[in-house]
């Protein structure tokens, strides 16, 4: 018998996509504009059935491309409607131009995103190249380890985005979460509604009696200040993420923050990882701890805003850290998460920094299993005892 964390919790068996669609039904946005793309298609497909069955008041706009999906979301959100979409991979890449505009216009659009590799070669399976490619677009990015987190994160994202006035994307790993059926605890509809509250846009375009121009041209005299407002808003989104998580815990008894710490209290080596691989890594930590190794794990949940200082504090006393990236930066430098983590450590470490090594894994959905992660912890053990890091970037399960 599965125990619920709250007395009204409803236990269901759902795939990641099904539960994200279910969260969207409960959120009941005014407008959803979307375009199909594997492996995210189901989210909006299931949702459009909710629309067809009259379960939501949503206007569903079945656009002709992801570029138009985000463009329509921008129009809708600026008009004053609570607006959502879903996409993945090439779809997010096609939206790229519009992501910056959504953020610059400070529109709290929320995207249910399924992580998938980017072409070429074409591949439909999960890695983080797509969202890492838009990491500087000015969007809040929240990653999920499993369907439960995807559900909880999507509901929280509405409140975070609307309070911070920054768009947000909540992600799951393609197929690994999107198509995997798991036990999820749902929140009753009325409680979701209460938690997210009614959307009250500050200055909707449809308020024609108070006309104003959205998306005017800024030249040298204003652009910098307006972009700074976005930079500042991203910084200010940090306490908002924590506030919303605290409220969520109070209401539904499930705990969230910038990251989850797993057996970190006495750890001297640790892995930092994002998404579904964290589940596997936790099992690896349990296994290795049986051998007396003080292994820990940090699963990053919120990549944007990046908890620079907080993460550095968690890691600074360790001897060795491995950063696992499901993405490469193709830049001649290490992968994105490694760059953020080492930057955080270099900036905030008071004394000696831990040694940090980068492992790129799982591109195009390549498996990562327990023995791969055990190998990483073995390496960390060696680095801890003095083995030099010869190669900063290493590749897991690459032939």
């Amino acid at each position: 018998m599965v125990q619920t964390t709250t007395k009204n919790g409803i236990i269901v068996a759902k795939t990641g996509n099904e539960i994200m669609a279910e969260a969207m039904r409960q959120i009941a946005p005014d407008v959803v504009a979307a375009y199909p793309i594997t492996p995210a298609t189901e989210i909006v497909q299931i949702f459009s059935q909710f629309v067809a069955d009259g379960l939501v008041p949503t206007e569903f706009v079945a656009v002709e491309s992801e570029h138009s999906a985000m463009s329509a979301c921008i129009g809708s959100s600026a008009a004053g409607a609570r607006t959502m979409t879903g996409t993945s991979s090439q779809g997010l890449a096609l939206m790229h131009e519009m992501l910056y505009i959504a953020a610059g216009l400070r529109l709290p659009i929320v995207v249910a995103l399924v992580n998938r590799a980017l072409s070429s070669p074409i591949n439909i399976h999960g890695d983080h190249s797509d969202t890492m490619g838009s990491r500087d677009a000015g969007w809040i990015q929240i990653y999920s380890e499993n369907s439960q987190e995807a559900y909880d994160n999507l509901i929280q994202a509405i409140r975070i985005a609307e309070k911070a006035k920054i768009p947000a994307m909540v992600t799951t790993d393609g197929f690994i979460i999107s198509h995997c059926m798991e036990v999820v605890e749902k929140i009753p509809d009325e409680d979701v509604k209460k938690f997210i509250g009614e959307y009250k846009p500050e200055r909707p375009l449809l308020d024609y009696k108070k006309p104003f121009s959205v998306g005017a041209i800024d030249l040298q005299d204003y652009y910098f200040e307006h972009r700074y407002q976005l930079i500042d808003a991203m910084e200010k989104a940090k306490p908002i993420v924590l506030e919303v998580a605290e409220d969520f815990k109070k209401e539904f008894n499930r705990e969230y923050g910038f990251y989850e710490k797993y057996k970190m209290d006495d750890a001297d080596i640790a892995i930092v990882v994002i998404g579904s691989a964290a589940g596997t890594a936790k099992v690896a930590v349990d296994d290795i701890r049986k051998k007396g190794v003080k292994a820990g794990l940090i699963k990053l949940r919120v990549f944007r805003p990046f908890p620079h200082k907080e993460l550095a504090q968690e890691l600074s006393n360790l001897k060795a850290v491995a950063v696992l990236d499901r993405c490469d930066s193709n830049s001649g430098a290490p992968a994105p998460l490694y760059l953020e983590v080492t930057s955080a450590l270099y900036t905030h470490c008071k004394s000696e920094c831990p040694k940090v090594i980068n492992y790129v894994y799982g591109l195009g959905g390549r498996d990562i299993d327990l023995h791969h992660i055990a190998y990483v912890y073995d390496m960390l053990g060696k680095i801890k005892t003095g083995t030099q890091i010869k190669k900063v970037v290493n590749y897991v399960n690459l032939r």
Binding site: H67, S213, I217
Partner: protein, 306 residues
Amino acid sequence: MANLKQLSQKEELFTGGHRLCAGCGAGIVARQTLLATDTPVVVANATGCLEVASTIFPYTAWKVPWIHSAFENAGATCSGVEAAYKSLKRQGKIKDEIRFIAFGGDGGTYDIGLQSLSGAMERRHRMLYICYNNEAYMNTGIQRSGATPRGAHTTTAPAGKVKQGKEQFRKDLTAIMVAHNLPFAAQASIGYWNDYITKVQKALNTDGPTFINVIQPCRLGWGYKPEDTIQVGKLAVETCIWPVYEVVNGKYKINMKPKEKKPVTEFFKLQARFKHLLKPENKEIVDSIQAEVDRKWENLLKLETL
């Protein structure tokens, strides 16, 4: 029919003080469009001359709600605004009637924005899409577009020693829009304010997606004197280079039939972009353009009888 006296008493919703060129037709399009409205409107604008010159922050020439997001997506952006309106109206959160107008230049409509426009029209959003067509990418400095006519000099299809401007004929965007089975699609010219305003009014009163392709002479890109904008706009119609017509639920009606069709060279003579065509060695090009104008005009006359 629009009534000039009544129009003159209406509030200007597109104000002066914008930074469009002297003699620019885009400002005339925007002003006349908003003068034609009787219901509140929200405007979506593609990136282009009209957008950059009318909203240099912290100023705006628009006294109606206005949104610009990017270049290729006025259709999609306007779709989103209209979808929000439909949703909020259905939910009782908005009571009033509001209409939606999207403006895109020819580059933002014929070329980069064609997919977005096609999608918006196919989805039957109630919006009026107006292509203010100046036949090239004027905002970036007169580059050729899918709307640029054959023979015109532009900076990316210039007249030179071996080439004489754009080699291809323009695409027939209005026909493409008619093929979307719109309840109202039209061509207009800023040379004829009454015809244009009447069309905007008809379009806004149509429950469905509507489209107007309005020829808008550009004094800089076309190379004529600023005070000649209206005359050039009229000549486009009098030569049948740009027939003004409307298609209501598939039925064609030509709004103006010149008593005497002027030769295309009458249109060319006023404009620097066609100067090279008037050289004797380019007569073949002029003849080919005249033949195409004649063929299309005859075809339009036939369409009207269907």
